[in-house]
Structure formats: C-alpha cells, structure tokens
Amino acid sequence: MAQELLWIFISALLINNFTLAYFLGICPFLGVSNKLDTAMRLGLANIFVMIITALAAWALNTFVLIYAPYLRLISFIIVIASTVQFVEMAIKKWSPELFKALGIFLPLITTNCAILGIALFATNKGYGLIEGIVYALGAGGGMTLALVLMAGIREETRVLDIPDVMKGTALSLIVAGILSMAFMGFAGMFSAA
C-alpha cells in the first residue's frame, strides 16, 4: 500500500507531470508565471484546490454517481466550483492572512483544466479517498514545480535579446518543450530496480 501511494505521488509529481506531460493547467503556466513569488503562491493555491477537488470527487463517486453515471461531468464541475467558493469564503472569514496569500487565485483556478483533470483522472484510475488525496498532492506539487521553473526561466529571458516574432507564447512553448524533455528523464525511475 505504502509503495503504491509513493508510486502515485512520484508519478503525478515527476514522471507524468500534469503540466509538462498532460498539458493540464497550461494557461497559468504560459500566462501568469512571470514572477517566482507569484508562481509559488499560485502553485500552493493549486495544491489546495486540488485536495478539495479530490475529496469532492471521491464523495460524488461514492455516494451519488453510482446511481446516475451520466451526471458525472456536470456534477463534478458544479460541485467543485461551489465547494471552492465556500472554502474561499471560509478562509476569508477565519484566516485573512491565508486569504491574502492565496485568495485572488482561487476563482481563477477553479476553471482550470487541471482541477477537473484531477477529478476525472482519479475517477478513471479508480482511486479511493487516500489515493485520490495523494494523487492531488503529487499533481499539485508537480504543477507548482513546473510553474516555478518556468517563472525562473522567464525572469532570465527578459534580459535576453530575442527576435520580436518569438517573444511571448512561442518562446514559452519552446522553453516548455525543453522542460518537458528534461522531465522525460524521470521515466523509469520507479521500475528500474
């Protein structure tokens, strides 16, 4: 069990990185991550929402969707969006500090494909509650890692002399491709023994 959980975590974090191998959460990856600090906080907010999502998806799968599988997509979206909003309100009330750090990102994240991705992939893989949470931690951590790496690289590229047509998304995509290639090196680390 412990080994399986470790595999789930490492797989989501590095080998099948959500951003660099599954292309989930590409929008903030290409658009927002310009500053290291922002990238870090966005990543943390992401992990947070993902864990809530894993919980919600598990509850829906276990208690509701066995009776009405065709409602899966709709219920995932609605339940995730409203749960995140409730949690957002709760944080705002109980911990203004935390809200200041993560708050502005929460509504942005809810409509992110990575969040729905967590719910769908965990369901497809048949994960239970604990597995789902570990998966969310790994995937969120992986996205944070990718965001932070990208932000770091983009901070550097600002001072470089880059042809005009290449500035912006085109450059980000090629940098992302190289990062993604680097992450391919993690493949096999779990089965090499």
Binding site: I26, L30, L73, C113, T169, M181
Partner: protein, 210 residues
C-alpha cells in the same frame, strides 16, 4: 460584432483573423495533449465543433431567458451536457478513438474557446450569426489541431492517418509524438503564423491573451 449583412465575415474570422489557437492562444490543453496523430486531432476537433455548435445554438435561443447573474453557470451546464453527450457517442460509436482520447474529451468542458464564444458572441446575437460564429471558430480550432497533428504524426511516426509516407528508411523522431513534441510543434507553428501575420498586416495589432 453584430453584422447582419456580413455573415461570411462572421464565419471566416475564426479561420484566420481570430483563430482561437494561433491568435487567441486558447484551449491549449487539448491542442497539445491529443494531437500526436492526425486522426486523434480530427476526432478532437470534430468533438469540439459539435459542442461549440450546439452550445451556441442553445445559448443564442435562450439568450433572453437566461438571467444575467447566473449566466456563466447556465452556459457551463449547457456545455457540460453536450460534452457528456459527445463522450457517450464516441464511446458507443468509435471505442478505439474514445480510449485514445480518454479523459481529454471530458476536458472539452473547460476549453476556454467554448465558454468564451458563448459569452462574447452567442449570448448577444441571433441564432443565425451565432451558429456561423460557432462553425467558424470550431472549424478554425479543428484546422489548427489538424495542422499540429499532421506535423507530429509525419515527423514522429513517418505516417499520415496511419498510412506510411516516408518508407522504412525514415527514422521517426519519436520525441514529436511525446509531450515535448506538442510544445515544440505549436511553438514553431506560432512562430510561422506570427511571421506571416506580421508581414501581411502591419496595421492590425495582434492581441495575445493567455
């Protein structure tokens, strides 16, 4: 935006001038994730077109009924319905392709292109233009996917629609059908697109949104 006479323009703008992938850079997740072969790209493009078309139809029909405060939720419910339908239809009719695309079909729901068109066009236009707009954007999106898919399959597998093109002496660039190939292909296509667009028109400023 509301051009009763220029219907053709409403359709055509999605193909080039406001192409959702190359100009607006929206819907990146399916654009990169499932375009490792031409067939997968085509299937994803068709599924997106289907969802976009019918969502726009319904949103445009209901535009006077939908209360403003809950419009986004309503759009999402409508979109999710059609995505669920397309998911079921693909699983029933073409199970192999459905298996290849996996959860990415369901992820059409969060494709910003679709929600974006509802909010920007279908919600404030009559059914005719709304459908033309949806068709144009959908075809533009599918074309972009197909372009990426063709490049990746040709280089990464030496084939096109599963038919070998280069013969056995060609050593495929496997990286092209792996995730990095998606980033590289789109990156270079954007580069080409930007260059061409820049030469064509120095007058129009290109707005790149994330």
């Amino acid at each position: 935006m509301n051009t009763p006479d220029g219907h053709w323009d409403v359709f055509v703008k999605g193909l080039w001038k406001e192409n959702p992938v190359f100009v607006a850079v929206l819907g990146m997740c399916p654009t990169l994730a499932v375009t490792n072969t031409a067939i997968n790209s085509l299937a994803m493009g068709a599924a997106t077109l289907f969802v976009l078309f019918f969502s726009s139809l319904l949103v445009s029909l209901l535009r006077k009924v939908i209360a403003k405060q809950v419009r986004i939720t309503t759009y999402i419910v409508i979109i999710a319905t059609f995505v669920s339908l397309v998911d079921m239809l693909l699983a029933a009719l073409v199970p192999d392709i459905h298996k290849e695309l996996g959860a990415f079909i369901a992820l059409i729901v969060v494709n910003c292109v679709i929600l974006g068109r509802q909010e920007a066009f279908a919600a404030s236009n009559r059914v005719g233009p709304a459908l033309l707009d949806a068709a144009g954007m959908g075809v533009g999106f599918s074309m972009a996917l197909l372009m990426i898919g063709v490049v990746r399959e040709l280089l990464g597998n030496g084939s096109l629609f599963d038919i070998p093109v280069f013969g056995s002496s060609f050593e495929p660039w496997i990286v092209m059908i792996l995730p990095p190939g998606g980033f590289f292909t789109l990156g270079f296509l954007l580069l080409i697109f930007n260059t061409v667009a820049r030469r064509r028109a120095t007058r129009s400023s290109i707005v790149t949104k994330a």
